[in-house]
Symmetry: C2
Subunit: 387 residues, 2 copies
């Protein structure tokens, strides 16, 4: 570290150089991320509450009131208004919190469990592997059906006396698929097993699209077996990073993992993170109020329309789509070259695509920053590859 | 959630109402928090990089380069430039990461460990209780000496074949005490046991104050037993929340907890959080460059001077300071009324003090937002209590 500070001008000159090496969502070139351009209203609200710390809520009572309202608004969106939860850093913290709660709750109820297990779809996000490592859980993978949704029979077969949680996904990370949560809920409720739904991606679009007439399976608190849901405002909710959400059906699930906070303005804390920005809550609140259901419907619907456009373009260009898209994610491959080679060629043209692992394919997420004109250029580039 | 969105004016009118219910650091009334007003240069840099996601660093190569530089700069500040680490959400994530790494590392090396234990000072932050619950660790508390620093003999006695980590603190949360890390490092190095130093609070001030002639015990990577250090830019580093830092002496400690990330632009991930804002890195980088050692020296020195002023005022007003302050934290009590009663009276006068749990006392942290004029009013208020 240098002794003397540099001038403001010099510091920002250098920051701009770093910034130039970053990609921007506005370019339309980021095709492989579930994040997007934060909405300006969310950014402004975020900035306004940057001083606020929800880890010490007695000091920031306004932000705390806002968080309670946000949780209730998200609950309302997902089938149950009177729920409990927090605005946190993202889907990973949310999924780890859910697994921690489920483990503590099950092991408290049944001290005979010595080797707790969680059953997760093969398509689940890697945060469940993180959770398993951290929380000393055995992770058992349930198989997928031919549409890459979890096979309910596989879950049934894997249930054991050590199962502390089952996970279902509403919008898988790689393919955007929605698991048959209703059937899984039925099984879990009947067997008194905790069911967590990871709707980090789909939570902010499935309800809006459903209201517009799109057909999706049920996945939310309307199903009585669902104990908790992950929903990420910093994905389809357009909030800045870090903004995640974890919702629990009952307060006891938050309490199952709370620790004492000796010197703060709240007695117990259940989040992973201690000091916790209130800015994320403010951004989520402002965007819900500013956009309303109508605004979010437009956002989701637009993404679905552009997905359809991209889908047609990919097919017409002679590529193979690995599965019918359910949400705004398309995975495809070439009939002629490998996935790695195709990715390499697209990267050379400036496209940041990502690769799904199961099945191996090029994966494009049509987030709100992807516009019709970007898709047109992408399709032209696909055609120009001369494979 | 409402169907129709509200106007921008209406949304921000309501946000302002929430904001009014929050306290502000600028008021000088927040005496019980380790957070402070973020520095405007840090805020500006933060805002500039809000789009950046270090969970997917291939997309944000500029931010990634900045993070590497920041980690090296922090290492340089703490005795070793070639270290490994990340800018994360705060001290809790950092402490959990350190415990996770220590546990995985020890249990890989010695599969005979079945009931892993961590030894932490009785004064350690409650995040270690969180870590213990999450990571299936037994937490063993080491006793403190009569200055509320950890008793090295107590640590020695508690070491067992199950010990996977020892924790020392450089700036305890409640009293700002610095543990005798040099002696603890000697013991841990000799016994091949992982030593983590929680310098969330002291990391950004002890090195600067030491250069100015203040006397403090050694606590950093200069001691060969120290395997990792927590240092929080969002405390004495003046960065916005969420900005924490975790530093590891060797890469193997990060690797011990990395999980595969199938579809992202990096292969493995060691942080708790997945999607991770690059804004925190930018703020930390900008503040280090803008303030330099000289700027941070002024900040820390100023806090120590105001602490001294407050200390004298408290003594002169007839209150009892529970221990000589080592950093910018003072804990005190009345000879006449209980701690709860004193806190209640101060709260009625608008002061947000906090209470330490061991020993029970009123706890004031003289963060950079506490100015001389605030201390004067506080002392006047103490005298006006007429106890």
């Amino acid at each position: 570290m240098e002794d003397k500070g540099r001038s403001k001008t010099e510091v920002f000159r250098q920051l701009k150089i770093f910034k130039k090496k970053d990609m921007t969502h506005l370019s339309g070139k980021i095709l492989g991320s579930m994040c997007t351009c934060p909405h300006p209203i969310g950014l402004k609200a975020y900035h306004m509450f940057l001083e606020s710390n929800l880890g010490d809520p007695g000091l920031f009572k306004g932000t705390k009131t806002m968080e309670k309202e946000v949780i209730s608004l998200l609950g309302d969106l997902l089938g149950k208004q009177d729920i409990y939860g927090h605005i946190i850093t993202g889907g990973t913290e949310a999924n780890i919190m859910a697994m921690r709660s489920a483990r503590n709750f099950a092991m408290e109820k049944n001290p005979k469990i010595k080797d707790p297990e969680i059953i997760v779809p093969k398509s689940a996000h890697f945060s469940f592997k993180k959770a398993a490592d951290m929380l000393c859980l055995n992770i058992i993978e349930a198989q997928l059906d031919n549409e890459y949704k979890v096979d309910v029979n596989s879950i049934k077969e894997l249930l054991s006396k050590n199962t502390v949680a089952v996970v279902a996904v509403a919008g898988t990370t790689e393919l955007g698929k929605i698991d048959p949560v209703e059937e899984i809920s039925h099984i879990c409720y009947g067997n008194n097993i905790y069911l967590h739904v990871d709707a980090a991606f789909g939570g902010y679009s499935i309800p809006f699209l459903t209201e517009m007439g799109y057909e999706f399976p049920k996945f939310d608190f309307g199903l009585r077996g669902v104990c908790s849901i992950t929903i990420d405002p910093h994905k389809m909710g357009l909030a800045p990073i870090p903004t995640g959400g974890i919702l629990f059906r009952e307060k006891k699930y938050l309490e199952a993992m709370s620790v004492e906070t000796p010197y703060l303005t709240e007695d117990r804390q259940s989040t992973l993170v201690g000091t916790r920005t209130g800015a994320s809550t403010a951004a989520t609140w402002a965007l819900i109020k500013y956009l309303g259901r109508e605004g979010y419907k437009t956002v989701s619907d637009q993404c679905m329309k552009i997905t359809k456009l991209l889908y047609n373009g990919i097919i017409e260009s002679g590529f193979e789509v690995v599965t019918e898209p359910q949400l705004n994610i398309i995975a495809f491959k070439s009939k002629k070259v490998s996935v790695d080679e195709l990715a390499y060629k697209l990267e050379n043209l400036g496209w940041a695509v990502s690769k799904s692992s199961y099945p191996r394919a090029i994966r494009v997420i049509v987030m709100p920053h992807i516009k019709e004109e970007h898709v047109k250029v992408f399709i032209e580039d696909l055609n120009s590859l001369d494979l």
